[in-house]
Subunit: 325 residues, 2 copies
Amino acid sequence: MRALFALLLCVASAVSAQTLPSWNDGAAKRGIVEFVAAVTTKGGKDYVPPAQRIAVFDNDGTLWAEQPMYFQLLFAVDRVKAMAPQHPEWKEKEPYASLLRGDLKSATAGGEHALLELVAASHAGITTDEFEKLVRDWFASARHPRFKQPYRRMTYAPMVELLRYLRANGFKTYIVSGGGVEFMRVFAAQAYGIPPEQVIGTSGKQKFELRDGRPVLVKLPAVDFVDDKEGKPVNIQRTIGRRPLAAFGNSDGDLQMLQWTCAGAGARLCLFVHHDDAAREWAYDRQSSIGRFDKGLDEAQAKGWIVVSMKSDWKKIFSFEGAKP
Amino acid sequence: MRALFALLLCVASAVSAQTLPSWNDGAAKRGIVEFVAAVTTKGGKDYVPPAQRIAVFDNDGTLWAEQPMYFQLLFAVDRVKAMAPQHPEWKEKEPYASLLRGDLKSATAGGEHALLELVAASHAGITTDEFEKLVRDWFASARHPRFKQPYRRMTYAPMVELLRYLRANGFKTYIVSGGGVEFMRVFAAQAYGIPPEQVIGTSGKQKFELRDGRPVLVKLPAVDFVDDKEGKPVNIQRTIGRRPLAAFGNSDGDLQMLQWTCAGAGARLCLFVHHDDAAREWAYDRQSSIGRFDKGLDEAQAKGWIVVSMKSDWKKIFSFEGAKP
């Protein structure tokens, strides 16, 4: 009997080493594994049938990096530069003028409104098919300014493992992000294994048109829905129509999504990724303009949600670490 | 060799009898089966991997009946009657006054705008959880005025078979309807085997609120998005992010969805259900205020899309036919 017990311990420990291998053993990993065991164990009090196992992930700062600024904004900057010859008026008009002078700080000083204007203008006036091609081409050539990597490699290896681990346990994994839904769909399948129909995000208005009898969808320079803060649970309800079992974020923009998720009955998992590793990534939280993590940090501590230390919970952050660029 | 050929013919004919048993053999059924064979045959020129096999279905008039008026409107009428004691002003205000007098014709004479107002008012001011319960209770007790059946039994048996047949062939089946998304989700899983996250529809605005620290989503009396006509391809793009392979409708409100679907490359299937059976269901098309089928009928004939005659293509319409009520 004692031998059997020892054997079971060995098996458990071997399973643990294989599960989420980029995660150090500790409270964060243990919390995830225990939650998954609770909702997948048949006959257990917290068992949930596979069809109801919905997990939602913020993208910027949760699945991939978001510094020195949101990657989609860097795409918008490149688009504005490419479009500038057709828009001579931009030389005198903010935020374009600052941006074209290379002064990103002033260009984005107008806050969320200026960012949305920039994104709307640089993403509009083309069909959805044309936009997809532009984004695809940009991903193929653009490189991150600090790490000199293609952006699709700026994903967090432990989080990609976590997505896979949840799917292996019957979860349907969704992105629910402030980023543009059509921008994210171009890389989500390859980077995360998440199909287009499981990507939820900020959307622009579109118009259906027949051009020479051929239907197209044209992107208009107007915001349809901002998928951030209170908007996240609203968009989850509109698009998924079920309350998630698990929610993952990194900033105050994700707080309402986590509140909505963990207010459901039975076992729930709410987790914030905390950027505390300036050496391997970046360190920022309560004072940051990008990815501010202040109210969320307080509430996570008060409610006992998991706060992942990138520094101590993750063996590696990016898959390219240690490899040559 | 000749014997083998004869055997293969027998097998093919047996398969045909088992496939879509409520459909008569004819051009409509043949068109469906040939399309499915084309996109699922590996190595064939029209082969499509399962992940990309998206089929979209209108609901009212396509998957279930829509006469004498949209069933959701009958729910709204019952709601308005139940709410009337709290709204004395409705006695003087249209469309409520007509409706409360039992004059549905006048109440709905204001067209789409009046209907949306009625639906918005009768569906709002409560949380999403409360709304779901109201709809569930209504479905349990309400009966269709002509057939005296619960509304969940007003679905078309041949279409429910078609949904199942497509899913058995690797398709992901979606509802894309002018009906309210939260209304349809209450019955779509049971009636059609379609989970909430595959139901797309007209949506109302919602507000995230904390009530005594508990998050709720409150339904507001304002329309967010009308999922009809040009809105259908726009909402498909926003929610699914892929162009469907197959689209099914019954009215001009579905025309743009079919145009968008069948303008894609490779094999596509576009199909309209034509209401031409006044005995077993209803007969209406070009002149009808509900489910008008005029431009769509012209375009289907011009483009060679399938037009299903409910009278001659379907062995039965409702599953309860011949059964006692």
